[in-house]
C-alpha cells in the first residue's frame, strides 16, 4: 500500500502519458498509450497501469496535475497546466542547466525558453500547419507504406540527405514521390524528412543557443531526428532520459510542489 502519490498526466494528441512520484520525487510508476479517439479510456489505462507499478490505488493520489491538449478530460485533476509549462518543468528537473527546450509532439512543436529560476521567458508554437510535427512524419511514413520506426531506421542509413523543400505535409509527400521517381535513395529521402523538421525547429529559436534540451514522443522514437537537430542547431542537444514522458513528469513535479495534502479538494477515487 502506498500513500501520498503525486500524479502527472499528459493527454497529448497522439499519446497519453502518466508519471507517479512519491513525496520525495522518486518515480514509482509510469505508462504511455496511444490517445486514440477516447481520451477517457486512454487516461484510465495509463493511470491504472502506472498505479499498478506504484502499488497504489486512486485513493492514494494526494494531488494530480494534468497537461496536454486533452488535459481537461482528466476529471479528477486538481490543476490543469499547459504542456509548455509541464515540459519546461520536466526538462529542467532532468537537467538543471537547460534554458532552451524543444518539444516535438504529435500535433505541434514548441520552443520554450526559461530563466535561471525556471520561469518561462519566451515560447513559440509551430503555425497551424502540421509540418515540423510528429503528424508530418507519420503521414509521410504511411504514404511510403512503413511505420515511423521503419522510417527512422531507414534514415539512419543515409549518407547524403535529400533536401525536402515543402512546408506542407501534402506537398512534401508529393516531393518524396518525385525524389523516388528520380532514383534518389530511400535512406537519403527519409533523412531529408528529418532534416526538414529540424530546419523548421531552427526557425523557432530566436537566439543562438549553446545547449538545447529536447523532449517529446518524436524525439524518443526517432534517433534520426536527434541527429538532424544536432546538425541544424549550433548548440549541443541534451536529450531528456525519457523524452516522451517529460510533460507528465513535469506535471507530477508540479503536483508535488503544490503542497497537495492540504490543498486538494478533489476525490481522486
Amino acid at each position: 500500500m502506498r500513500e501520498n502519490l503525486f500524479i502527472g498526466i499528459d493527454v497529448g494528441s497522439s499519446a497519453t502519458k502518466c508519471v507517479i512520484l512519491d513525496n520525495t520525487g522518486t518515480w514509482l510508476g509510469h505508462h504511455v498509450v496511444s490517445s486514440g479517439v477516447n481520451y477517457a479510456d486512454a487516461i484510465d489505462t495509463v493511470v491504472s497501469h502506472a498505479l499498478l507499478q506504484a502499488e497504489g490505488s486512486k485513493k492514494d493520489i494526494a494531488y494530480c496535475v494534468s497537461t496536454g491538449y486533452g488535459r481537461k478530460h482528466v476529471t479528477f485533476s486538481d490543476r490543469f497546466v499547459t504542456e509548455i509549462t509541464a515540459h519546461a518543468r520536466g526538462a529542467r528537473e532532468w537537467n538543471p542547466s537547460v534554458r532552451n527546450i524543444i518539444d516535438i509532439g504529435g500535433q505541434d512543436t514548441k520552443y520554450i525558453r526559461i530563466d535561471d529560476n525556471g520561469q518561462l521567458i519566451d515560447y513559440r508554437m509551430n503555425a497551424k500547419c502540421a509540418a515540423g510535427t510528429g503528424t508530418f512524419l507519420e503521414s509521410i511514413a504511411v504514404k511510403l507504406g512503413m511505420t515511423l520506426s521503419e522510417l527512422d531506421e531507414l534514415a539512419l542509413k543515409s549518407t547524403a540527405p535529400t533536401l525536402v523543400n515543402s512546408y506542407c505535409t501534402v506537398f512534401a509527400g508529393t516531393e518524396v514521390i518525385e525524389r523516388i521517381k528520380e532514383g534518389q535513395s530511400p535512406e537519403d529521402i527519409a533523412m531529408g524528412l528529418f532534416h526538414s523538421i529540424a530546419s523548421r525547429v531552427k526557425e523557432m529559436i530566436p537566439c543562438s543557443v549553446e545547449t538545447v534540451g529536447v523532449t517529446g514522443g518524436v524525439v524518443e522514437h526517432c534517433r534520426a531526428l536527434v541527429i538532424a537537430l544536432e546538425e541544424a542547431l549550433s548548440g549541443a542537444i541534451i536529450e531528456a532520459p525519457m523524452p516522451q514522458h517529460a510533460g507528465a513528469y513535469g506535471a507530477a513535479l508540479l503536483a508535488l510542489e503544490s503542497n497537495p495534502i492540504f490543498e486538494s479538494k478533489v476525490d481522486h477515487a
Binding site: 499547459t82 509548455i84 509549462t85 520561469q119 518561462l120 521567458i121 508554437m125 497551424k128
Partner: protein
C-alpha cells in the same frame, strides 16, 4: 461549490441596437428610392465628403466583419476564390464578394433586409491597404457604378506638410470628379459640419477608450468591438455624438463604482491587430475566465482621430487619413505601442498575425520581439485570421493564451 462570475452588461448596448437597426433600414430605403443615393466607403473615409454630397454612406468592411462574427464567411469565401480572388488575400474582401455571389448576407437575419444597399458610387482610401481598391472595383463592375478614391503616401514615420498637402489635393480632386460625375456641386457647409461632427464623435470615442486606463477597467477590447460601430458607420452625424456621450457617461459611472469589465481583473493586456471575428465570443469568454482584461488595442483606437478646430475641413481629413496608425512605419508604430503600454499599465502584449491581413498585422518584421526587449513585457504572437477560420486553430490558440497567463503568473511570484 464554484459560483459563476457574471459580467455586468453595458446598458448603452440597447441604444446601439436601435441605432444600428435604424441605420441599415435607412440605407435599404435609400437604395430603393430614386431620389436618394448610396455611396460605399472605406471605414477610414473619406465619408465626410460623401455625406456633404448628400449620399447615404455604407461601409463594406462592416459587412465583412459581420460575415465573420456571424460565422458565415467560410461559406462565402469559396465563391470568391472560384472566380480568381486568392484565398490568401483579405478575407473581408473574399467573404464580402462571396456573399454577393451566393446571395447570403447577415443583414437579413439581423435587420430583415435582403443585403447591402446597391451603390451609386464607390469611394475608397488606400491608406489602410490596396485590397479595398480591388474589392470596390469588383462591386463597381457588378453594379455598373463609378469607383474612385485616394491613395495617401503610406508607411510614414514623420507626417510632413508635404504629405498632407498631397492628400488634401487628392481629396480636392476627388470632389471635382464626383461633381463632374454627378453634375452636383458639393455643399461645403455640409462638409464642415460633417467633419466637425466626425471629430466630436471620434474625440468622445477616444475618451471612452481612455476610461480603460482605470483599475479595474470598465471596458475591454471585446466590448469595444461592439461599441465602435457608430464611430465608423455614423461618423459625421449627431447620432454618433449622442451615442458616445451616453456611453462615456456610463463608463465614467462604472469607473467611479469600480465596476470591472472583467471581474477579478488579474492582468492587463494590449491587443495588436485585427480581432478574430468568428471567434470573438469564444475568446472574450476565455479572457474573462482567465482574468485577462484587454485594456487597449490598436484596432479600436484606429478611429480615434485628432480634434477638428475649424478652418479647413479638407486639411483635417488629409491629416487623419495620413496620420492613422495603419498608415505609419514600424518606427512610429513601435513608439506608439510602447506609449500605449505605459498609459494603460499593460502587463503583456498579444499580437494577432492575421494571415490574410498583412497591413493590419504588426508581428511580421520583428516588432513584437523588439517591443518585448524594450519594454520587458511578455509578448505572445498567435496565428489566425480576421474572418477565415481555416487559418485558426482553437486548441492551439487557447493553449498559447493559457501559457501566456502562466508566464504572467510566473512574473508575479
Amino acid at each position: 461549490m464554484t459560483i459563476a462570475v457574471k459580467r455586468v452588461p453595458i446598458k448603452a448596448r440597447k441604444r446601439l441596437q436601435t441605432l444600428m437597426h435604424d441605420y441599415f433600414l435607412n440605407l435599404d430605403a435609400a437604395a430603393t428610392d430614386s431620389n436618394r443615393n448610396v455611396a460605399w466607403c472605406t471605414s477610414v473615409g473619406p465619408c465626410e465628403i460623401l455625406t456633404a454630397f448628400g449620399y447615404e454612406v455604407y461601409f463594406p468592411e462592416n459587412h465583412g466583419a459581420m460575415l465573420g462574427a456571424r460565422k458565415i464567411s467560410h461559406e462565402c469565401i469559396p465563391a470568391a476564390v472560384a472566380i480568381g480572388y486568392s484565398a490568401e488575400s483579405c478575407s473581408y474582401m473574399t467573404s464580402d464578394i462571396g456573399s454577393a455571389l451566393s446571395g447570403v448576407s447577415p443583414l437579413t437575419e439581423a435587420f430583415g433586409i435582403s443585403g447591402p444597399p446597391k451603390p451609386d458610387l464607390l469611394c475608397y482610401n488606400t491608406n489602410q491597404c490596396r485590397e479595398v481598391q480591388d474589392w470596390w472595383n469588383f462591386f463597381g463592375r457588378r453594379h455598373n457604378a463609378p469607383v474612385m478614391g485616394i491613395g495617401p503616401p503610406t508607411h510614414l514615420d514623420l507626417v510632413t506638410e508635404a504629405h498632407t498637402d498631397f492628400v488634401r489635393n487628392e481629396l480636392s480632386q476627388l470632389i471635382t470628379r464626383i461633381e463632374s460625375q454627378t453634375g452636383t456641386k458639393m455643399d461645403w457647409a455640409k462638409l464642415e459640419e460633417a467633419v466637425d461632427k466626425s471629430s466630436k464623435a471620434s474625440s468622445l470615442w477616444r475618451k471612452v477608450l481612455d476610461t480603460a486606463q482605470s483599475h479595474p477597467s470598465p471596458i475591454t477590447f471585446f466590448d469595444g468591438l461592439i461599441h465602435m460601430a457608430p464611430v465608423i458607420l455614423m461618423r459625421g452625424s449627431q447620432h454618433a455624438i449622442d451615442y458616445y456621450t451616453l456611453l462615456l457617461a456610463e463608463m465614467n459611472e462604472r469607473t467611479n463604482a469600480k465596476e470591472a469589465a472583467v471581474t477579478n481583473e488579474r492582468f492587463r493586456i494590449y491587443w495588436d491587430g485585427m480581432p478574430v471575428w468568428p471567434k470573438v465570443r469564444e475568446m472574450s469568454e476565455k479572457f474573462f475566465d482567465l482574468g485577462l482584461c484587454v485594456a487597449a488595442s490598436t484596432y479600436c483606437n484606429s478611429w480615434a482621430f485628432e480634434e477638428y478646430t475649424g478652418g479647413d475641413p479638407l486639411a483635417w481629413m488629409a491629416k487623419t487619413s495620413t496620420k492613422i496608425f495603419i498608415n505609419r512605419d514600424e518606427t512610429f508604430k513601435q513608439k506608439f505601442l510602447l506609449d500605449m503600454c505605459k498609459q494603460f499599465d499593460i502587463d503583456g502584449m498579444i499580437f494577432h498575425n492575421a494571415r490574410t491581413c498583412p497591413n493590419n498585422t504588426n508581428s511580421r518584421f520583428g516588432m513584437a520581439q523588439r517591443l518585448r526587449d524594450e519594454s520587458g513585457l511578455p509578448v505572445l504572437v498567435f496565428d489566425g485570421d480576421l474572418s477565415d477560420v481555416r487559418f485558426f486553430s482553437t486548441a492551439q490558440t487557447m493553449t498559447n493564451i493559457e501559457t501566456f497567463v502562466e508566464q504572467l503568473e510566473g512574473r508575479c511570484r
